[in-house]
Subunit: 148 residues, 2 copies
DNA sequence: CGCAATTAAATTGTGTAAAATTAAATTGAG
DNA sequence: CTCAATTTAATTTTACACAATTTAATTGCG
């Protein structure tokens, strides 16, 4: 590509991905509003629905986020009584995050979201799977590039 | 997909694109630090390097962002003397945003970034083009879904 | 063992995003 | 022409991201 072409907004991979990410976020918003969750709070809940309980560190490893982001998110989820926190007795540096009964129950409602989303997106099951596969592969490649 | 599978974090399209977006942002960061620009500020500059001058509204249409986000970004770019703002005499509601000489000159340095990025990402020219094409198409599809 | 290095969270500060509100200018239906 | 509706930006509020710093607990080298 010519250098003058290469610097144009619509030739930036970063911009298409950035826009797509916000646009997909927007697709979720009406469903998440019903649960009274933000997008990030939803991601945290997804992790906890798989594990019931984990440390702040494990949560961060799953979501690629640090305590600077997660501490305030957990503070809000705990205030809403969806989660609770306590120090790990075996290692007082660690914080164990767990779901309350209310937090566990919310999974029932949330389980409807992925289906609704695929439906609303207009993607077929196959397109969805292929896109997820492609995104995941690219993510790994970029993560690799970032650690070199 | 089974409902229990569908609600897992790593089967969420939203999470893969969200992680990918942040990871790509991270790939840019060292280069943008050299220019002393944030990612969003870089996007604004990309638009202005193509047009030299535009209104806040046009900038927002290009980047899919509103004045709530862009006003403070422009305030910072103007403080750094890369841009300047003045009301449109033909329609006082509008704000005309323009590049200063310093802002124009920064394009020379920035023009190196896209090449460096492709290189660092490990993608071939073909992979890059195909990925850009796929993302742009998907973006349009999701934007369509969001307006229905 | 003792203490320097490491690890885990929380906190602080900066910069977006997005929704909602406000204010000012312009438009257009009657 | 006139005023209600619309348009454009800015502001306010809430909630992330991320870097940098702080604090407390744990590890492990000498």
């Amino acid at each position: 590509m010519e250098k003058d072409e290469a610097i144009k907004l619509n030739n930036q991979l970063c911009f298409s991905i950035y826009s797509l990410s916000r646009e997909i976020n927007k697709l979720y918003r009406p469903f998440l509003e019903e649960l009274n969750l933000t997008y990030t709070q939803y991601l945290v809940m997804l992790v906890l629905w798989e594990k019931d309980s984990c440390t702040m560190k494990e949560l961060g490893d799953s979501l690629f986020l640090d305590s600077g982001t997660l501490s305030p998110v957990l503070k809000r989820l705990t205030k809403r009584a969806l989660t609770y926190r306590k120090r790990d007795p075996d290692d007082e540096r660690r914080v164990l995050i767990s779901l309350t009964e209310e937090g566990k129950q919310l999974k029932e409602t949330a389980a409807e979201i992925p289906g609704k989303l695929i439906n609303k997106s207009g993607l077929s099951e196959e397109e969805f799977s292929k896109t997820l596969f492609d995104f995941t592969n690219l993510l790994q490649q970029i993560q690799q590039a970032n650690t070199e």
